[in-house]
């Protein structure tokens, strides 16, 4: 079997190299698109992995919290900040920071409420029960979105400047892509600091590793779980803002589709592992961009999901713990 895997990777690399040689500038531009998509996926994937790490629950409603974040952002940008294309830099920054704050806070609180209503009462129940209520919460949130914005797409005007940050020998990097990265990276750095350095972060890690032992240390386990959902929801809110501004439209089922990809990214990287979720998201972002953008023998966008999930199956068959997951004796 390693021969088979090596062959596949070899073909993949050869395909990338040929595409690169045929048009290095174009290839790089496509890679920038992949990086940007990956950054959006990472924000959502981290929420799945955080919640799974602490509760071993796949929060199926997470993608829909992200979608609501996008709708909050759309509303803020259009109706509160009245942002139009080609706005001044000051107005743009104020609108983005203001909307980001509102979307993160609102989604954080929604996620905490979801846990309180649909998961906590079932803490002692068999695994299947909270999984079903998670799917139920997903439908409820989608229906709230339909009631609020209707079943069609909500358009967000393209407020992000599309002018070039730099343009070197045919390689163009535009501001809209840089802004996505400029929002994502600080949010990720704050998350790392929160989990690694703060008291609440320590409580989260302890609760994730052994909930009973954490309680015996004097950690308020319920509060820690709520805090985790708050953070995960906040990340989803940030993802919603970035998505709404970058892709320019959002619908009640956007969270389902993107949530599925983000969840795949989290599993791909090793569910429960934070750097793994970011890595998985970037890999999927690149796969998608290369598949849809490259010109030499690329399967094209119809095949993206098949390819993403084929790779997921291969990874899970050969490395069930994911790319960065730990092979722990307890099987986690």
């Amino acid at each position: 079997m390693p021969f088979f895997a090596t062959l596949l990777v070899g073909i993949l690399i050869a395909w990338l190299v040929v595409n690169f040689v045929q048009g290095p500038a174009y290839f790089t531009t496509i890679a920038f698109i992949g990086l940007t998509n990956g950054a959006v996926y990472a924000l959502v994937a981290l929420g799945y992995t955080l919640v799974y790490g602490i509760l071993e629950l796949i929060n199926f409603a997470h993608g829909d919290v992200f979608m609501l974040g996008g709708m909050f952002s759309a509303t803020m940008v259009v109706s509160v900040f009245h942002l139009a294309p080609h706005a001044s830099i000051g107005a743009l920054v104020a609108a983005i920071v203001g909307s980001l704050f509102v979307a993160m806070a609102a989604c954080g609180l929604i996620n905490v409420a979801v846990e309180r209503i649909a998961y906590r009462p079932l803490r002692g129940a068999p695994r299947l029960a909270p999984l079903i209520t998670a799917i139920g919460m997903s439908f409820i949130l989608e229906n709230i979105a339909i009631g609020w914005k209707g079943p069609g797409y909500t358009a967000v005007p393209s407020v992000l400047p599309t002018s070039a940050v730099f343009s070197v020998s045919g390689i163009t990097y535009t501001w809209e892509k840089l802004i996505v990265v400029l929002i994502t990276v600080p949010v990720l750095l704050v998350l790392v600091w929160l989990v690694q350095k703060t008291r609440q972060g320590k409580a989260m890690r302890a609760t994730a590793q052994d909930r009973d032992a954490a309680a015996m240390m004097g950690i308020d386990v319920n509060r820690t779980i709520s805090f985790t959902f708050l953070i995960a929801g906040g990340l989803a809110g940030a993802g919603g803002l970035v998505y709404a501004l970058y892709f320019g439209q959002i619908r009640y089922d956007t969270g389902f589709q993107l949530g599925l990809i983000a969840f795949t990214a989290a599993v791909f990287g090793g569910i429960g592992n934070l750097p793994g979720a970011v890595l998985g998201a970037l890999v999927i972002g690149f796969i998608q961009a290369f598949n849809e953008g490259l010109t030499w023998h690329a399967p094209g966008s119809d095949w993206t999901e098949s390819i993403v999930f084929s790779i997921l199956i291969l990874v899970l068959v050969f490395r069930p713990e994911g790319l960065l997951g730990e092979r722990t004796p307890e099987g986690g």
């Binding site: 409580a203 302890a206 052994d210 309680a215 240390m217 386990v221 307890e330």
Partner: protein, 242 residues
């Protein structure tokens, strides 16, 4: 000789269930200030369940638990720790992906006196020099004996009034068992009351002031440790004499 000291922990008629199975059928025990009290009994007698009832992880359905004069029967586990009860649980339950130092720090989670925590960390490393050697090692990768020391050290880091130890000698080489029991006596001399659950009844009765024999969820015998060690029935059943 212990009559004049105050009762620290008092259980009265505690009945605890796992689902529909009743594990404790009315357990009443006392721990007085400064004592070492041991619970002995066969597997499934309810020793660990008694500890889980006290520490708030498995609330009783009936009966009362009073600690330092306050009813803690239905207090949450984390607030019971804050009141001064720490535990080294059965199966150790260390945080496997944290280092030894981080595990010990977790033990002091609810404390805010940094200087005192550092002092206690040094104290734990003095008690268990082996842990000092391995302070940057992930707890999950250590041997059973080292993990046991880490679990006891972690409980001590809470600077508890009452320290509960569940099977501290389990799976340890005889030399470590002796070391652990010496430590228990030492910690007790420094002013910590101890509730000790042990399979090794001989050692437990040797270091304890008083003991309780649990049988299928009830207290079958309660006496001074010395008297229990002399008791013919106890000797036959738990000390392996014929």
């Amino acid at each position: 000789m212990t009559e004049q000291t105050e009762t620290l922990l008092q259980l009265r008629g505690v009945e605890t269930f796992y689902g529909t199975i009743q594990a404790l059928k009315g357990v009443s025990i006392d721990v007085r200030d400064g004592e070492i009290v041991t619970l002995i009994g066969a597997n499934g007698a309810g020793k660990s369940t008694t500890l889980r009832s006290i520490n708030g992880l498995n609330h009783p359905r009936k009966g009362s638990i009073v600690f330092k004069g306050r009813d803690i029967t239905y207090q949450s586990a984390h607030s019971i720790v804050k009141m001064g009860i720490a535990q080294s649980p059965e199966g150790r339950k260390l945080f496997p992906r944290m280092t030894v130092t981080e595990n010990l720090e977790m033990g002091a989670f609810q404390r805010h006196d940094r200087a005192g925590v550092r002092e206690d960390m040094d104290r734990v490393f003095t008690l268990f020099p082996r842990l000092a050697e391995r302070r940057t090692q992930k707890a999950g990768t250590m041997s059973g004996g080292e993990q046991q020391m880490c679990a006891i050290g972690r409980a001590l880091m809470a600077r508890p009034t009452l320290l509960m130890l569940d099977e501290p000698s389990m799976g340890l080489a005889p030399i470590f068992v002796e070391r652990i029991f010496e430590t228990i006596v030492e910690v007790n001399k420094q002013g910590t009351s101890i509730l000790l659950v042990e399979q090794n009844a001989l050692m437990a009765l040797h270091v304890a002031n008083r003991g309780y024999v649990l049988e299928t969820g009830t207290v079958a015998l309660a006496d001074e440790a010395k008297a229990l060690a002399q008791n013919e029935q106890v000797r036959k059943t738990y000390l392996g004499e014929t």
